[in-house]
């Protein structure tokens, strides 16, 4: 007789990878600072806060914490830039949620997976940002896909495959 207990309850807290205390906030702050000090002509092709959000979302594999982290990173980025609060926040919130959901289902440790996911999420992030600008800010000059956007997505993907293993070192051994 198969005694199978069916558990019906809140979503199990699946945190596969844990990090040392303070790593997440420190990395977030560092990413924002570096993004701000990066040369302007190159800053359009670099999106460190997005990469950080994506990395932790894929690693933690918890949609709730992923979206909260994305919200925080996005709002901080808004506060440090000229964009209204919430513009980057909405985009990164969605990135955190979707990234966590995907991280719970796919193997995201492989560099090729991270490369492709980074391109996809960069374009997704830009699309959400553009849509929000269109709807709320009435900025009709924003475009969804252009050559610079595609180039930037590839650039960030290359950066991700170098950055993500570096951040893997701060994982707490299980």
């Amino acid at each position: 007789m198969d005694n199978t207990e069916v558990y019906i309850g809140p979503e199990p807290h699946i945190e596969v990878h844990k990090y040392y205390g303070g790593v997440v906030p420190a990395v977030v702050v560092l990413a924002l600072v570096l993004q701000a000090f990066f040369p302007v002509r190159w800053s359009g092709y670099l999106e460190l806060p997005l990469l950080v959000t994506l990395y932790f979302a894929l690693s933690k594999r918890n949609p709730s914490s992923g979206l909260v982290l994305g919200m925080v990173v996005g709002l901080l980025q808004d506060s440090l830039s000229r964009t209204p609060l919430g513009l980057y926040g909405i985009a990164k919130t969605l990135v955190g949620y979707v990234g966590s959901s995907i991280g719970a289902r796919l193997d995201v440790e492989h560099p090729l997976a991270r490369f492709i996911l980074t391109i996809g999420f960069y374009l997704f992030h830009h699309a959400v940002f553009t849509l929000t600008s269109h709807l709320l800010l009435a900025h009709q000059n924003e475009t969804y896909v252009t050559a610079p956007i595609l180039i930037a997505s590839v650039v960030n993907a290359f950066i991700a495959i170098g950055l993500f293993p570096l951040l893997d070192r701060f994982r707490r051994p299980s």
Partner: protein, 278 residues
């Protein structure tokens, strides 16, 4: 143990976070006219509800008001119709009284003009059930001094004579009755004759010679020869004359001076004293 993960909590959290940031943006963003986006959204969100509720309230108020007003209008209409009917009846009554007052005034005036002649006013209360005779009943009788063969007049002229006197009522034989007659004369020629009733509205004057010149419209007055009426009371006017080829008297048709078909108040002469007819 098989865990069944629930995605509702994370989705709910996602929705809440996104909505919160959208509202945050709406507070910061200003549209044309320096109006914050959140104010624009609030107005656009509330205005359809306001319009809908206003429409409902407006139609309810007016519908209810129309219903109430209409109901009140019906009631008012019914009340006004009833009032109108009542006023019509009252008006008819008052008109009748006014006419009666005029008649009584005429009688009073006649009586005052002939203050020395004893007479009593009476009201016609009914007619005779016999359709062949022109008899009316008056509300004065022997208790008021009325006797048989007393003359009955109105200010317009001769009406008839008392046929029978009972204690409280009397019967009056009208001038138009076939059995009635009064001694009369033509006012212009003073030719005497007898005015008789025919049972019809018109009267006839007999015993007037064919040689007498009689013209239409000539007045016919009482002669006093019948010992009932004083002299020179109006009896009728000549309506038509025709010479009788077979006899020596002309045929004269008369129109009564008094309105024999509309009698309501009359005067009964208690004496044969001559009236100073004016």
């Amino acid at each position: 143990m098989i865990a069944i993960p629930s995605r509702h909590k994370s989705l709910t959290l996602l929705a809440a976070v996104v909505v919160a940031q959208v509202l945050l943006l709406a507070v910061q963003i200003k549209r044309a006219g320096q109006v914050r986006l959140i104010r624009v959204w609030a107005v656009e969100l509330i205005s359809p509800v306001q319009r809908a509720s206003s429409w409902v309230v407006y139609n309810f108020e007016h519908g209810w008001g129309n219903y109430v007003s209409l109901r009140n209008t019906r009631q008012d209409n019914q009340a006004l119709r009833s009032e109108l009917d009542r006023l019509k009846v009252r008006n008819a009554e008052l008109e009748g009284r006014a006419h009666e007052a005029d008649r009584l005034a005429g009688i009073l005036s006649f009586r005052q003009a002939h203050r020395d002649v004893p007479m009593v006013a009476a009201r016609v209360i009914g007619g005779s059930p016999d359709s062949g005779s022109l008899v009316v009943n008056i509300d004065r009788g022997s208790h008021d001094g009325i006797r048989r063969d007393m003359g009955v007049i109105t200010p317009d002229g001769v009406v008839g004579k008392i046929l029978a006197a009972y204690p409280d009522i009397s019967q009056v034989l009208l001038l138009g009755d076939k059995e009635s007659g009064v001694g009369a004369l033509l006012a212009d020629t003073r030719t005497q004759g007898v005015v008789r009733g025919s049972g019809k509205p018109d009267l006839t004057m007999d015993y007037v010679s064919n040689e007498v010149k009689v013209s239409a419209g000539e007045a016919v007055l009482t002669s006093g020869q019948d010992r009932i009426f004083p002299k020179d009371l109006p009896v009728a006017t000549v309506a038509e004359t025709a010479a009788d080829r077979k006899g020596s008297f002309m045929k004269i048709r008369l129109t009564p001076a008094a309105h024999l078909d509309r009698l309501e108040e009359v005067l009964v002469l208690l004496t044969r004293q001559d009236l100073d007819v004016k």
